[in-house]
């Protein structure tokens, strides 16, 4: 396993060295470290470095000292992120559970600060594309491994081994299956409009295989949330594909053909989506959500990180014993304590109160709305082809909606992955705004002609 350490360290060293020529590469390196957490993939020496902090310093310092700030601007939504960061600091100081609150604060502040900072660095089209590329390949590393293991057998909720041993962070079954589905539209956009890897049959083949691996993630991890996300993505794609009936037909046939290949455990778990009486995971979820609503009646400002530790539920669980004639159902009293929110919306509400939930919803709502407006602005006229801008707005919106749907069932409000999508939307939005302004200033400037050539 030391071999993996060496390879990962060599990779990080190589990319860091490339950053000496172009500091923006360090931003990409931080995104990679933030998503893949290579310290956890390796076993020995790589864990000795505070890798995440080192890369953060490199990315931020590189931008501050070496990079041009031309065209960087601080937007309203970045202000929202900073406000959210301030609110989190405030609620952490008065958190009910000080120890675990500060533990969560430890990674949340980095996630929020980087989210506010990232759009400042993504000033050009190529930089936006590069971030998309690194996001897709980073998540792709996990999905290719997980997808292949699913095909060759093995898997199960919390048991599919994904590069690392533990079932935490982005490697948690539900979270990785949400991220896997969310990157599909972005990967497809890269295959169509990429300039680092230009459209070519090899690129298309890679993206097709990657998307397939991503679709297998909810299967391999038995995460029901992932299946819901995949269905939502399929429905959204219906909105934009050219031949809707053909698409729906193919999707239906593929689904029917796939069912016999799904493992039994998967079908059993999926059938509980609609019948959740006997399922502890689903019924406690609803109990926790009810508890949170009661909790904020007394604590409208929230209870700080991990406030859910205060809850405890006692309820009746049906338990089946015996089989055939001797089969009997008894109800046992079960007491659960400290059940997590299992929903980002309730996570925000319980921990940061109504204000926190409001800021968070506003942040995501504006992004979704803006992508819709951009999508409409760049909608191709009849006979014209979709441009890269319209395509990117569509892809980001689809990824974002998948994230927000997944967030209904999993507490991922502060995951770096979600903020990466938000950060890309902010950067893309202000990039388009800047271009529109420059265009209004007259075509005499040099960039105008070069941009006209670019946005074919």
């Amino acid at each position: 396993m030391a071999m993996v350490d060496l390879v990962l360290l060599a990779f990080i060293g190589l990319i860091a060295a490339m950053g000496l020529k172009r500091p923006f590469v360090w931003i990409l390196l931080y995104i990679y470290v933030d998503l893949v957490i290579p310290q956890k993939v390796g076993w020995g020496i790589i864990q000795m470095f505070p890798l995440s902090l080192m890369m953060f310093a490199l990315a931020f310092g590189g931008w501050l000292v070496l990079d041009s700030k031309e065209g960087s601007r601080f937007t309203f939504r970045q202000g929202l992120i900073v406000a959210l960061l301030g609110l989190c600091a405030f609620t952490t100081f008065r958190a009910e559970f000080q120890d675990s609150a500060w533990e969560k604060w430890d990674w949340v502040w980095k996630s929020l600060l980087f989210a506010a900072f990232l759009p400042l660095t993504m000033r050009t089209r190529l930089r936006i594309e590069a971030v998309a590329l690194f996001m897709v390949l980073s998540i792709g590393a996990i999905c290719i491994s997980g997808g292949m293991k699913t095909v060759f057998g093995g898997g199960g909720y919390g048991t599919l081994r994904l590069l690392v041993v533990e079932n935490s962070g982005i490697y948690e079954s539900s979270i990785i299956s949400i991220a896997a589905i969310a990157i599909i539209p972005i990967a497809v956009w890269l295959a169509r409009f990429g300039t680092v890897f230009r459209p070519h049959w090899t690129v298309a083949a890679f993206v097709a295989a990657l998307s397939f691996a991503c679709l297998l993630m909810p299967v391999g991890t038995n995460a029901r949330t992932g299946l819901v996300c995949a269905a939502v993505l399929a429905a959204m794609m219906l909105r934009t594909v050219k031949n809707r009936f053909l698409y729906a037909g193919i999707a239906g046939v593929a689904l029917v053909m796939a069912v016999p290949f799904l493992p039994q455990s998967y079908l059993e778990r999926m059938s509980t989506i609609f019948d959740h009486k006997e399922d502890e995971s689903a019924s406690t979820r609803i109990a926790v959500w009810g508890w949170t609503l009661d909790y904020v009646k007394e604590h409208p400002m929230g209870g700080g990180f991990d406030a859910y530790r205060a809850n405890s539920f006692t309820y009746q669980m049906p338990q089946v014993t015996g089989s055939g004639n001797s089969r009997s159902v008894t109800y046992v009293e079960v007491t659960d304590e400290g059940r997590a929110y299992h929903s980002s919306y309730f996570e925000m509400l319980g921990e940061q109160g109504w204000l926190g939930l409001g800021l968070w919803l506003l942040l995501h709502g504006i992004g979704l709305l803006q992508m819709e407006l951009v999508r409409r602005r760049f909608r191709p006229a009849k006979g014209e082809k979709l441009g890269w801008q319209g395509g990117l707005a569509e892809a980001l919106q689809q990824a974002h909606v998948v994230f927000m749907i997944g967030a209904l069932f999993v507490g991922i409000a502060f995951q770096p992955f979600g903020f990466l999508i938000v950060g890309m939307e902010i950067a893309f939005g202000s990039y388009l705004k800047r271009q529109a302004e420059e265009q209004r200033q007259g075509p005499s400037r040099r960039w105008a002609t070069s941009h006209a050539a670019l946005s074919h």
Binding site: F11, R22, F206
Partner: protein, 56 residues
């Protein structure tokens, strides 16, 4: 084994992507977006070894 394959493939592609970014002036300034792209390159039309062509 599968892990090695997944890591090698994706990390190789990321390293290649970063390498290609170094040679792109439009990474730092949009106005330098390869004007060459707009110009046709008849001398390359018959060949398929254009380095920017994406044989990933």
């Amino acid at each position: 084994m599968i892990d090695y394959f997944a890591i090698a493939l994706t990390h190789g592609l990321m390293a290649l992507a970063a390498w290609r970014l170094l040679a792109r002036p439009d990474l730092d300034d949009d106005s330098l977006a390869s004007e060459e792209k707009a110009k046709p390159k008849p001398w390359l039309a018959a060949r398929d070894d254009n380095p920017g062509d994406g044989h990933g």
